[in-house]
Structures are given as structure tokens and as C-alpha cells.
């Protein structure tokens, strides 16, 4: 069953069309990668789904319930949590208070609340910094805190906006492991990520945004082969020269031949 | 009919003084995100300075405008560079607080030097008017409106085409890009505040010529500049002109219809309604 359904979604900023006619749905329990070059409208899409911004056109349904008119705090309480690409943390609160506040808003109290906060801090490896004022955290820690805070909402759907940017290879492996564990718990995820290694590793499906439009949707291995996706990322000249190069060296089969420009 | 035409003229001409004041206020706000609560008191100080210049140098107030402008330009530069720059990057309301403190100090110094009594600038033309089509055009206010139009054009040309003007505009879009462009932001800020202070002082001269004033007259002037700036849009070149005319006419018409005691209800009611309906300001960027 579709946990999230997006229908004909569009967003204009002034006269600029940032998103146009986006439609897709997410099946429960799946992990979907959302990729696209800078400025493609990925974060805007996440903002619209999470209610931080209002769509100009189109509709969003979460478990068949319309979201596009709800304030974002209602959406969060329904079990749709998110992180922010540019971290947003409560810098006047300690790390622990940050996480506890989120769990508190969905009605957890007393011992259960504290136990849940402990569990999440351990899960995100922040337990030893629980009493630190979050203003003093490093960027990777801030990203982890955002994840812990989102998980405290007991989400059914998690929107992750570049949670892994700036991590070193070791941290990256740990993060991938963590996301895979969350998937096993049945949390549906929409993951924005620039690192293809991560996307290939965790996604069941990849959707590609380019200049505000959905240009591809499919299995990760399929999607990266599509030439319009490579063009979107690397520019058409690169793809052409690369294709020519590969033909010469006999590796042309790596690219999806049907989609190539001749 | 004739009465209403005269009311309209009065309103439009009142808009001139309001507009010059807002030109300064809007520039600081638009470029530095700075709300200068001492703005009105700067203007009152300029009015007192004009009195001194008239008394001691015998220089006519209208001819003294360039001198007053330069004095406030220099003073403004120093105030921004050594005082406001120290806190402007911390948070919004530390600067509010600082300018309020400056307002307090200036107003009370003026009480010490000039007493709390009302003064006015005595010139032969202060209370006379031009007659045109059977309507009265008070000289000072008419000249103020002309000044506003000329200053708006000059300011626009300056910001658009001069090197320092472009530096100011670049900085208004964010300090980070401006710094990457190699601009010395403290100096750009100081220059902006200097320019604003000079403009504010110019407005102060006209205010002093057409109104009696005391050291306590600054508050309402600041609030007036607020309202005009919001009406016209923060940081736009023509906003102060438009906003000044709108508020001038509304106040003039309103005080005839409802009585002069309702002018404040109109002014502040209008301000509240605009703020609530257009939360990010009428045209400007969000605070």
C-alpha cells in the first residue's frame, strides 16, 4: 500500500517554477533515493511534503490523508518526520532536551520517555554528549542529532535531506548500517543524497529530479544508466564524449544503448 | 470641494517631510537590517543645529542644508564604525537596544543644552505660502517635497551607478558574498549609516522649519519613519516617496473626517493591518 502519494505537485517562487507536475507514490517499508543536481528542487520537494512550505499546485496524501493544507506540526505528529539539509537544531537546549522535546510532543511521558531518549541517543552514538548544549556540536553530530530527533517522533515515513554530507568513510559506513537497520524496523524512507555509493547501497528505487521535473524513476541500477540522468548530472558533452570513448574501448554496453544519442 | 483639494494638497506636502525621513530609515534597514530608534532624535538634533547655525553664522536654514548634511554624515560614520558595528552582527535586538540607548542619551543631552521647551526656527518664509489655483502651498513643505523627489533620484543614481553605491547594494544582499567580493563591510556599513544620517538630518531641517520641536519630539518622528518605510517597502528607492505620500494624505484626510485625535488610531491601525496582511513587509525582505 502507498504510504505517500504525490499528485501533480508544483511550486513557484515568484515567477520561477521550481517544481512542476511531480507525481509519485511510495510503498510502505521501501527506501527511495531522491537524486538530482544542485538546484533541481529536491529540498523544496521535501519542504512541501513536510509542510514547511505550501505547494502552488497539486496534492499530497499520507495514508490517504491530505497533507497539503495541514500545518507542519500536525504532519509531524502524524508520523512523518524529516531532517534538514542545512541543520536546524535547538541551540539553547542540550542534546538530550532536543530529542526529548520531540518525543514529548507525540505524547510520551515519564519513564517511557526517558528510556526512549536513551535508546535513540545510543542508536545515533550521541549518548556521551547528551548534556552538551547543542550550540557546541560539530556538524556531523548536528546531523546525527537531527536524525535522533526525527526518530523520536516514531515516524512511519522519514524524509532524510543529505544526512551524510560531510561524513568520513568510516562514519559513512556506520550511517549506511544505521539506515539499513531503520529499514528493517519497517520505516519508509525518502533519502536525498549526493553520494551515489549510498544511494546504490540502500535504495530499492531511485527517482531523479532535474530542473524541477521528475525525469526518471526506477531501480537504482536502471536509473543511473539512463543517459538523460547522466546528462542532468554531468552535462551532455561529457556523456557524448564518454559514450564515444566507451565505444572505442568496447565498453559501450555499460550504458543503456537504447537511450543514447547517436 | 475646494476644502478637500486643499486637504489633499496638505497631505501630499506633509508626505515630503515624512518621505525624506523615511529615505534615511529605509536605507539603514534595507542594507544593514538595522532599525535606528534614535532616528527621530537625530532629526531633532539637526533642527537644533540649524537654529545654532542661523543664530551664530546667520546662515539661512535652507542654505545650511549641505552643511548640516556633512556634519551628520561624518558623525554618522563614526557612530556606526565605533559603536553600532560592534554589536550589529550579534542579534537584532541588541542593535535595537543600542540605538534606543543612544536616543535616550541624545534626547537628555539636548534637554541639558537647549532645555525641554519647544523651539521653532524663525525665518521670514516659515509660515508663508505660495498661492496657486486658489490653493495654499506652504513654502517649506513644498520645497521639502521637491527635495524628496530630487534626493530619491540622486540616491537611486548613487546606488545604481557609483562604486560605493554598488558596494552598498551588494552588501544589502548578504555580508558573506559581499566579503568574498573583497568589500570591507565595516566601512560599507559606516558609509551607509553616514548617508542615512545625512538624509535624516536633511529631513530634520525641514521638520524644524515647519513644526515647533522639543528634545522629546524624536519618538513620533521615528515611528512615522517606520510606518512610511513599511508602507513603501523596505530598501526600495521609491518606497519612501510613495509611502510618504500615502501616509501624508491618509493622515490629512483622516483628521478632517474623524478629528485630529484620531490621527494616531489611523496611523497605527494602518501599520498593524499592513504588517499582519503582509507579514514580510509590503515589498521588502523578511527581517
Amino acid at each position: 500500500m502507498a504510504i505517500l502519494e504525490v499528485k501533480g505537485l508544483g511550486k513557484d517562487f515568484g515567477g520561477l517554477r521550481v517544481l512542476d507536475d511531480i507525481s509519485f507514490s511510495l510503498a510502505e517499508g521501501t527506501v527511495t533515493g531522491l537524486i538530482g543536481p544542485n538546484g533541481a528542487g529536491k529540498s523544496t520537494l521535501v519542504n512541501l511534503i513536510a509542510g514547511s512550505d505550501r505547494p502552488t499546485r497539486g496534492e499530497i496524501y499520507f495514508f490517504s490523508r491530505p497533507l497539503h493544507k495541514l500545518p507542519s506540526w500536525r504532519i509531524a505528529r502524524l508520523g512523518l518526520a524529516r531532517t534538514f539539509q542545512i541543520t536546524r537544531i535547538f541551540k539553547d537546549l542540550t542534546l538530550r532536551e532536543n530529542v526529548r522535546l520531540a518525543a514529548w510532543t507525540i505524547g510520551m511521558r515519564g519513564q517511557k520517555l526517558e528510556a526512549e531518549v536513551d535508546r535513540l541517543l545510543a542508536l545515533t552514538e550521541l549518548a556521551d554528549k547528551a548534556a552538551v548544549l547543542s550550540n557546541d556540536l560539530t556538524l556531523p553530530d548536528q546531523k546525527r542529532l537531527q536524525l535522533a530527533r526525527a526518530l523520536a517522533l516514531q515516524p512511519k515515513l522519514l524524509l532524510l535531506d543529505e544526512v551524510m554530507a560531510g561524513l568520513n568513510p568510516v562514519e559513512l559506513d556506520k550511517a549506511i548500517l544505521l539506515l539499513n537497520r531503520l529499514r528493517q524496523q519497517g520505516i519508509t524512507m525518502l533519502v536525498i543524497e549526493h553520494l551515489m555509493r549510498v544511494i546504490m547501497n540502500i535504495s530499492d528505487r531511485v527517482i531523479v529530479l532535474h530542473q524541477g521535473q521528475l525525469i526518471a524513476d526506477g531501480q537504482p541500477s536502471e536509473v543511473v544508466g539512463l543517459s538523460q540522468v547522466q546528462e542532468a548530472y554531468l552535462g551532455s558533452r561529457y556523456v557524448k564524449s564518454k559514450a564515444a570513448e566507451m565505444e572505442v574501448s568496447g565498453l559501450g554496453g555499460m550504458l543503456n544503448a537504447g537511450n543514447q544519442e547517436s | 470641494m475646494h476644502l478637500w483639494l486643499q486637504v489633499l494638497v496638505n497631505g501630499i506636502l506633509q508626505g515630503g517631510i515624512l518621505g525624506i525621513s523615511a529615505l534615511a530609515f529605509s536605507l539603514q534597514w534595507g542594507v544593514m537590517n538595522l532599525i535606528n530608534l534614535a532616528h527621530g532624535t537625530f532629526q531633532v538634533l539637526a533642527a537644533y543645529l540649524t537654529v545654532l547655525i542661523l543664530q551664530h553664522l546667520g546662515l539661512d536654514p535652507l542654505l545650511a542644508v549641505p552643511l548640516v548634511f556633512i556634519i551628520f554624515f561624518l558623525g554618522g560614520y563614526l557612530v556606526q564604525f565605533f559603536l553600532i558595528n560592534r554589536v550589529i552582527s550579534t542579534n537584532l535586538f541588541m542593535t535595537l537596544l543600542l540605538t534606543y540607548g543612544m536616543d535616550f542619551v541624545l534626547a537628555n543631552l539636548m534637554i541639558l543644552f537647549f532645555t525641554a521647551d519647544y523651539k521653532s526656527i524663525n525665518t521670514p518664509y516659515a509660515n508663508s505660502s505660495w498661492q496657486l489655483f486658489g490653493l495654499q502651498f506652504p513654502i517649506v513643505r513644498s520645497v521639502a517635497l521637491l527635495f524628496l523627489i530630487v534626493l530619491s533620484v540622486l540616491l537611486w543614481l548613487f546606488l545604481e551607478y557609483s562604486r560605493p553605491g554598488r558596494a552598498i547594494r551588494a552588501t544589502s544582499m548578504g555580508t558573506e558574498p559581499a566579503r568574498l567580493m573583497g568589500l570591507k563591510i565595516p566601512h560599507v556599513y559606516a558609509l551607509t549609516f553616514a548617508l542615512s544620517s545625512g538624509l535624516a538630518a536633511t529631513g530634520g531641517v525641514f521638520f524644524g522649519l515647519s513644526n515647533a520641536f522639543s528634545p522629546a519630539s524624536g519618538g513620533p518622528l521615528t515611528v512615522g519613519a517606520f510606518v512610511v518605510t513599511i508602507l513603501g517597502g523596505v530598501g526600495t528607492s521609491w518606497g519612501p516617496l510613495v509611502g510618504g505620500l500615502i501616509l501624508g494624505v491618509l493622515d490629512a484626510v483622516g483628521s478632517v473626517i474623524f478629528g485630529p485625535t484620531y490621527v494616531n488610531v489611523i496611523t497605527f491601525g494602518l501599520l498593524l493591518v499592513i504588517l499582519v496582511l503582509r507579514p514580510n513587509g509590503v515589498l521588502g525582505r523578511a527581517g
Binding site: 506540526w73 532536543n98 548544549l133 | 559603536l83 552582527s89 565595516p186 485625535t261 488610531v265 497605527f268
Partner: protein
């Protein structure tokens, strides 16, 4: 440990404050009443300005409306004092709640200006309303003794501090701090920010109105320009900032310090007192930007790493 020490200190200060009327003269009691009034007002301001991060420039509206409403209900509607007082405080609270809903959608300067306009508009409406005393103001029947008013103001100040204390140590207080840090993120973790902000504003209004009501009965003559004086708001703000925004003791400390400073300056010359206050404000901004109590839990390791800061040496 630390909490016990603070409790002990608070008890000592309160005990000392209780001893003032029997041990000193009427003049000091009057000054003390004023300090207590400002401690209550600053405490109220702290809820919206310090904890929630919405720097209101119009809190005097609640003080003024509370005072004028209480006066009008007792003098013009002939209600008994206690009923007029309760009705006035509740009425002003509702006023704050309703106006908070649209005004708290505004951010930064826009909020400050809108609240400033709110105070001025309220003044203008009160001045033009006969029932509320109009421009002439009104005389209230004289009751009580100076000592009584001191104790009443003191209890409002204590109430104000108590509310702040309870807030800071509750999840609701964390909600307000979260809004101050980042409102978008606060909504994203499920906080109903509109409700939280409006209720903080209403609490702020209730405290302001309480002080206003007691002020009206204490002074027995009130007129709109006095009770809506914009500098009253600024005093609340300055005292809170000076003592430490977002702390329990900050507003009280600020009120007492500014009170003493004003008295000292007045002893030198009547005119100088305002001048000293102005210089005091500038000094606080330049040298004590976080207040005497410091901001919450920052300090030793608290390097400033705000996103909006930029080094001005450049």
C-alpha cells in the same frame, strides 16, 4: 546542590524584601514598590522576549490597559475593586491572546514594530474612549496604605519569578526555547508553535495587567500618557537584558540594579537620571551582551558559533 543553593539565596532575598516596610521609611518603601513592579513587568516581558525570542516593544499596552480598565470598571461602572481587578486582568489576558495570534506570525523587526504600533494604537483608542477615562485620566478612591501596596507588588513579582521558574523546568519552557532557536524545526518536531507563542504572550499580558491594576489603585490617579509611556516597555527590556534574558533571576536583578542606578543619578541631578539610564543601556549592550546572569548554561565552553555572525575586522 546548585538548585538548593539557588533556593536558599532566593529565600534570603525574599526575607530581606519582606523586612523593608517595618525597618525603613516611606520613601524607601515607595522605591521598593516601584522596583517590585518593574521586576514583575520585566519578568512578564522575559516570557515572550527572553524565553520565546520575540522582542516585544509593546508590553506597556498590557500594563496601561490593565490600569485603565480597572479604573474604568470601578469608577465608571461602580464595580467593587476586587471584581474590577480580576475582570481587568482576565480581559487584558484575552486581549493579548487574540492579538498575539496575528502578531506572532511576524518575525524579528516586524514583530517589534507591530507590538510598538499595538501599544500606540491601544493608547490612541483608550484616549478616544470616554468610558476608559479618555484623555483626561481618572481618579480612583484611595484605599490601603503604602506598605500594603509594597507587599502586593512584591507578591506579583514573586509570582512572575515563580511562573518563569516553573516554565524553565518544564517541557513547555523547552518548547519556547526551541521556538527561539529555530521555529521551522520546532514545527517539524510537532510543536504547535502558534499555541505556544500565543500562550506565552498571554501570560506576559496577564502579568503586565496585574502590575497595571495594582499601580492604578496605588497611585489613585491615572491617565493614558503615563500608563502607556513607551519607555516602560523599554525598561522591561533593558532590565531583562541587563540581568540576563531567559533566566529566573535576571529580570529581578535588572529591576533592582536599574532602580538603584536611577536613585543614585537622581541624587546627583533630576535631569541626569535619564542620561545615566541611557548610558547604562549602551554599556550593557557593549559590555554585557549576555546579561549579568549570562544566558542559559553557556559559559566556559560556549564559543559563539552563530550562523549570522561575521567578523567585523576585515
Amino acid at each position: 546542590m546548585k538548585r538548593q543553593r539557588n533556593m536558599f539565596l532566593a529565600a534570603c532575598v525574599l526575607l530581606l524584601a519582606l523586612c523593608i516596610p517595618p525597618l525603613t521609611n516611606d520613601y524607601i518603601v515607595q522605591v521598593g514598590t516601584e522596583m517590585a513592579m518593574y521586576a514583575a513587568l520585566a519578568g512578564g516581558w522575559n516570557l515572550i522576549g527572553g524565553l520565546t525570542g520575540y522582542p516585544s516593544f509593546g508590553n506597556v499596552a498590557f500594563f496601561g490597559l490593565g490600569a485603565m480598565l480597572a479604573g474604568a470598571l470601578s469608577v465608571n461602572a461602580h464595580w467593587p475593586y476586587w471584581l474590577a481587578a480580576i475582570a481587568s486582568v482576565l480581559g487584558t489576558g484575552v486581549f493579548a491572546l487574540l492579538l498575539g495570534l496575528p502578531l506572532l506570525r511576524l518575525k524579528g523587526h516586524y514583530f517589534s514594530i507591530a507590538t510598538l504600533a499595538l501599544a500606540q494604537a491601544t493608547l490612541a483608542v483608550v484616549t478616544n474612549t470616554k468610558f476608559l477615562g479618555g484623555g483626561m485620566g481618572m481618579s480612583l478612591p484611595i484605599v490601603g496604605s503604602p506598605g500594603i501596596f509594597y507587599y502586593v507588588m512584591l507578591s506579583i513579582a514573586v509570582l512572575s519569578a515563580l511562573i518563569t521558574y516553573l516554565l524553565i523546568h518544564s517541557e513547555y519552557g523547552n518548547t519556547l526555547l526551541a521556538i527561539k532557536s529555530d521555529e521551522v524545526a520546532a514545527q517539524a518536531v510537532g510543536i504547535n508553535t502558534v499555541l505556544a507563542k500565543s500562550s506565552a504572550f498571554a501570560l506576559s499580558g496577564l502579568l503586565g495587567a496585574m502590575a497595571g491594576v495594582v499601580y492604578a489603585i496605588w497611585q489613585s490617579y491615572i491617565d493614558p500618557p503615563t500608563v502607556f509611556e513607551p519607555s516602560i516597555t523599554v525598561l522591561m527590556l533593558v532590565m531583562t537584558m541587563m540581568g540576563g534574558a531567559g533566566t529566573v533571576a535576571g529580570p529581578i536583578l535588572g529591576a533592582v540594579l536599574i532602580g538603584i542606578l536611577t536613585q543614585l543619578a537622581m541624587a546627583v541631578s533630576q535631569n541626569a537620571s535619564s542620561l545615566v539610564l541611557g548610558l547604562g543601556i549602551i554599556a550593557v549592550v557593549l559590555f554585557l551582551p549576555k546579561g549579568i546572569m549570562g544566558s542559559r548554561r553557556s559559559g566556559k565552553g560556549g564559543k559563539r558559533r552563530g550562523k549570522n555572525t561575521f567578523p567585523l575586522r576585515g
